[in-house]
Amino acid sequence: MISEILIPNLGATGGAVILEEWRAAPGDYVTAGTPIFVVTTDKATVEVEAYTNGYLRRTFAAPGDELHPGDVVGLLSDTSEEPLDGAGVEHAAGGRHTPSTPQAQGTGPSTHQEPAAKDRILASPLARRMAAEAGIDLKQVTGSGRRGEILRQDIVQAMAAQALAPAEQPSAGPDRRGLRLPVSGMRRSIAERTRLSKSQIPHFYASRTIDMEAARSFLESAARYAQKAGWQPPTITDLILRATALALRDHPQVNARYEAEAIQFHTEINIGLVVGLEEGLIIPVIRRADEMNLFALAALTTRLKAGARQGILRASDLSGATFTLSNLGMYGLDSFIAVINPPEAGVLAVGAVQQAPAVWEGQIVPRWQMEAVLSVDHRIVDGVVAARFLADLKERLEDPVGLAFEPPVEVE
């Protein structure tokens, strides 16, 4: 009889573990209760024991592979010779068979395998382009081609269906009891992204309370100024955007991406701004946010939010984010913890700007305050970095005049 060797749930944040080494080699006989392999979580190194006796016949992961609870990493069999019949091949988590003796290696091969052939979507170049432009997920489209390829007419149909969809969407109300709601493209996308994020990225959280007194009066001045000039008045979100952008400049590790063997620091600071919609949320991207001044940001976010609500944003508006900002303050939340949007390194969640008791110069006084919670990818950003980032952000928001200043430009 064949038994699978699985990664157990070790309570690691986000679930992912790294295989450190095998304690047995294919061909060895293992007894229940003895360690068979070793993994590291974000917190500790854990020896995993075999839960049954048997011969270790095959391994599907090598040291350095990133694995998740439930992944099959090997096969045990009662006897040393019985045929495996391809058992467990589909479970190859790291995409690797290691028929030879596994050695403890510092560097493992890249973990993420290519999707199997049957996952590949066949679509004509024209159909792909149209789908990208219309924001249609090809996985949702049925192809009418001979081999199931998606063709232009299929995208046209999908676009027509999408146009009809909102009218069919049931509105919020007590009538939803017992309703079976088909999952739309947006909902499915959110579901997929958040699931992926939580399973792949080891989240770490840090929070600060930010005094917003100065920011509030600063914004009043900015609004008066804007009105006189005929510009869009900046909102709290715009202010936070600017502060975040500048803070990211000084703390580039929070504006980076984790790749298999490297941390890739981004060349631009593109901040995604979460916009809530009736059916879910959408995240338009403010590109090169650090190069835009407060009023430019105000104009842009106004446009993007309107575009998001009207559903007219283009693919280019929705891609390329290196960090995300989510402001649920308008819904009254004191604070919340956001899910990182992969492949970014962090997301900043801010709550309502509201009056709360604060200690100010030895007295307890009501002060306008805001809770900021930073979620970061612990693979890249450690506690200290997160703390420094938040301190920087707090400083900028508490002395907001600095956010209106531009750096000096060399005059020839």
Binding site: S124, P125, L126, A127, R128, R129, S144, G145, R146, L151, R152
Partner: protein, 342 residues
């Protein structure tokens, strides 16, 4: 300008006659083209010209393709505009050096000091005479920088393009499909299409580097040249009945080729089917398909397909030739395949 019905042979003859009348530097050379009481070349195109212009300007030559083409090159460099005829297009290979190494390269090698205003007329296409009298040949010349390649499908284009070619100032390989010559004024080919149409009687030019849209459509662009244009038009008619709207483009000039017009059509229909009588591998269809995939990739809803002769020499038996030369059925079937029907 008045017009009268002409076959393609008559139209070509008219072009030569008018050109020689208008321009004393134009002269014609080839085998059996001017012999008094003779047949006016392999396909009657030069019939009667020597009576009007004499045997110096309508020059009969020995069977010497190298010398015919070489002399045409030399004469073109020394002040004449040469129009050389190969009795059958396949014979051009006897003088290929003069076409590819000489005519095509002289302007370039001389840094622009000498030009070669030369038209090389080649009767092409399978016509039940066997493998050495059937070649389509355009691929060799489209591939050679320095040459231009023209291949009309009807009398109007033939006359206008020949006149344009004579005065183009460059070596032009001018392909004339045997089955399109028509009957009047001489021998007629078996199975020829014999298109006759109103052709203006004076001098006019059809510019080199132009395509002609023979039929507009929405669903698929069919590109064809010479005889295949006629087959494609018939196929388009049948496709219409099957609910498919085909656009047929007459690629009457392969070099220079109006890529913009071609791309515009494919941008509209998103599908392309090329029909050529040439052998499949390395034919002009291959070049068009490559370019479309490079430049129109994101407009294609289907792979670019080609219907061509198989990669074999041309067979002679009528039964085999029918299978060899792409027919209307093959074109219809290919178009339907491209459209994922059947």
């Amino acid at each position: 300008m008045t017009a009268r019905p002409m076959t393609m042979a008559e139209a070509l003859r008219d072009a030569l006659r008018l050109a020689m009348q208008a321009d004393p530097s134009v002269f014609v050379l080839g085998e059996d083209i001017g012999i008094s009481g003779g047949f006016g070349g392999g396909f009657t195109v030069t019939l009667g010209l020597s009576d009007e212009f004499g045997h110096d300007r309508v020059m009969d030559t020995p069977i010497s393709e190298t010398a015919i083409i070489g002399a045409a090159v030399g004469a073109a460099m020394a002040g004449m505009r040469s129009v050389a005829e190969m009795q059958y297009g396949d014979f051009v290979f006897c003088g290929m050096d003069q076409v590819v190494n000489q005519a095509a390269k002289i302007h370039y090698m001389s840094g622009g000091q000498y030009a070669v205003p030369l038209v090389l007329r080649l009767p092409v296409g399978a016509s039940r005479r066997g493998a050495q009298h059937a070649g389509s040949t355009e691929a060799y010349f489209m591939h050679t920088p320095g040459l231009k390649v023209v291949c009309p499908s009807n009398p109007y284009d033939a006359k206008g393009l020949l006149l344009a070619s004579i005065w183009d100032g460059n070596p032009v390989v001018f392909l004339e499909h045997k089955l399109l010559y028509g009957g009047k004024g001489g021998r007629k080919e078996k199975t020829s299409i014999d298109p006759v149409m109103e052709v203006p009687e004076g001098i006019y030019q059809v510019p080199l580097g132009s395509l002609a849209v023979r039929r507009t459509g929405r669903d698929i662009t069919i590109l064809a040249n010479m005889l295949m244009v006629h087959r494609a038009m018939e196929a388009a008619g049948r496709l219409e009945q099957a609910g498919i709207s085909a656009e047929v483009i007459d690629v009457r000039c392969l070099n220079p080729l109006d890529w913009e017009a071609l791309k515009e059509s494919v941008a509209k229909t998103n599908r392309a089917l090329i029909v050529e009588e040439d052998n499949l591998t390395g034919g002009w269809g291959a070049e068009v398909a490559a370019r479309l995939s490079e430049e129109m990739f994101f407009y294609l809803d289907a792979p670019v397909r080609r219907v061509a002769a198989p990669d074999t020499p041309a067979p002679c038996s009528p039964a085999l030739e029918e299978a060899y030369v792409p027919g209307v059925d093959a074109i219809v079937a290919a178009a339907k395949e491209v459209l994922v029907i059947e």
